[in-house]
């Protein structure tokens, strides 16, 4: 009987409080959304399971500021705090991203810039309305960049205490793009605008595709040096993709490396979600601000498209809907725009390729925004 008592006391059941149980539910919900709703499963499965691990009393499986040493904290400390894993994911993103749609319509760079609007709206809202510190506000705002690794990178530097909710918000809303974006696009565009066809794309030479990561990468990193870890690895990955002579590196960088890093990044980010830190008013604020950020980013892209049309001759007007794809959330957002426009026009207008332009520009846009935040606040 004595043995049995001791067994129970040294178990995690004794230390369990309601917050742990709520977090088991949160983790379970994330896993459910990943499996049943296909919400970014590559990230939400590890994050959800990590959230469960983090809330096991006495298991030392949580990570983040002040966490006790353990497996998850080991990964967090060596992979995230060192700012190593998110740039490596970006290398994989570079390998997997085709920038041709962007190059074939260079004006879509600007739509990708406009669609970062939500970052700043949310950051200001977080600071002035919700009382977050400037550093925290920037980390919350970056959710509007609709880019997971950028959010993790910035949050882990500026406000590691918010890493969990920021990452969850970023990946959740990226998955909710098909629900968030269509009403906003519909609200801001007229039937006629949605029907604008834009078949013309510049031919893109192989040389331009290869020069892009080197030249555009160098200029962007000169412009915002603090974004170099993200942009440098993104462009390096893209160079491996396009150069045509590093096939095996390309395959591994876009395959095994991305997978390995995703697994460890995801589970250790999830493991920052202890009930103590996650179950707070701040998390609810962050989820709210994240939704606001996505909405304003979507609107920003669409509105710049409309602004363009004020100055463009009638034959060259662009379909403002593609601006919404500038939030990034590659390639989900571009597909949402394609589906929306195609349905609105009975399949006559199909701007998928045009929407891929701002879509990939948005990846660069939010990395640049993160870089400026780091430079001015870091």
């Amino acid at each position: 009987m004595d043995v049995f008592t001791e067994l129970i006391q040294s178990s995690g059941f004794a230390g369990l409080d309601w917050r742990n149980i709520v977090m088991f539910v949160v983790g379970g919900v994330l896993i459910y959304l990943a499996i049943v709703k296909h919400y970014e499963p590559m990230l939400l499965i590890p994050i959800g399971f990590g959230a469960i691990l983090a809330n096991l009393p006495l298991a030392h499986m949580s990570a983040g500021v002040g966490a006790e040493p353990g497996l998850m904290q080991f990964i967090y400390k060596h992979g995230i705090k060192t700012e190593f894993l998110p740039p490596v994911i970006f290398m994989g993103v570079g390998v997997l991203t085709d920038f041709r749609p962007l190059l074939s319509r260079p004006f879509t760079f600007l739509l990708g810039a406009a669609a970062q609007l939500g970052i700043f709206v949310a950051a200001l809202g977080a600071f002035y309305l919700f009382g977050f510190s400037p550093h925290q506000a920037a980390a919350v705002g970056i959710i509007g960049g609709a880019d997971g690794p950028t959010s993790i990178f910035l949050a882990s530097k500026l406000a590691p205490e918010l890493l969990g909710p920021v990452a969850v918000a970023a990946y959740s809303y990226m998955s909710l793009v098909p629900i968030i974006q269509p009403p906003i696009i519909r609200l801001l565009t007229s039937k006629k605008e949605r029907a604008i066809n834009m078949p013309n794309a510049k031919p893109v030479s192989k040389l331009a595709v290869i020069l892009f990561p080197v030249v555009a990468g160098t200029i962007a990193m000169l412009g915002v040096p603090s974004a170099a870890p993200l942009l440098g690895m993104l462009m390096f990955g893209n160079l491996m993709r396009e150069c045509g002579v590093t096939e095996r590196l390309r395959r591994t960088a876009g395959g095994a490396i991305v997978d390995i890093v995703t697994i460890f990044l995801g589970i250790s980010v999830g493991a920052t979600m202890t009930g103590e830190s996650f179950l707070s008013l701040a998390t609810i604020k962050i989820l709210l601000l994240g939704a606001v950020a996505f909405c304003f980013s979507t609107a920003g892209g669409v509105l710049l498209g409309k602004l363009f049309n004020l100055f463009l001759p009638s034959g060259k007007k662009i379909n403002p809907c593609i601006g919404a794809a500038g939030v990034s959330a590659v390639p989900m957002s571009a597909r949402v725009v394609q589906k929306f426009v195609s349905e609105e026009t009975d399949g006559k207008v199909n701007p998928l390729m045009a929407a891929m332009g701002p879509n990939v520009a948005g990846v660069i846009g939010s990395a640049v925004a993160a870089g400026v935040f780091l430079a001015l606040l870091g």
Binding site: F109, A208, A369, V372
Partner: protein, 94 residues
């Protein structure tokens, strides 16, 4: 810069994003003018269904292929396979 002045920080950041992406647009446009796509690079509009993680290449060489036809194919395809998308249309001239 005083970090408390987040309005200025955000304005700077948004400006930086715009300025930088505009520069990139101009530079890349210039590069494509200086090094245009040569004939030898091949004119091959093709359709292929790819993995969803990878962004599709743009429609190349529109001149040889009716964009309406592409749109029709793309649209029809997406009706049938909503979770796939068309990344290449390969035409066999007959």
């Amino acid at each position: 810069m005083n970090p408390e002045n987040l309005v200025l920080v955000c304005a700077t950041a948004f400006t930086a994003v715009f300025v930088l992406l505009t520069i990139l647009a101009v530079v890349m446009d210039l590069i494509m003018r200086v090094f245009p796509k040569t004939a030898s690079e091949g004119i091959k509009p093709r359709v292929r269904t790819g993995p969803t993680a990878e962004a599709p290449p743009p429609q190349q060489a529109i001149s040889t292929s009716d964009p309406a036809r592409i749109a029709a194919i793309v649209s029809a395809y997406r009706q049938l396979f909503p979770d796939k998308y068309v990344v290449r249309i390969e035409e066999i001239s007959s």
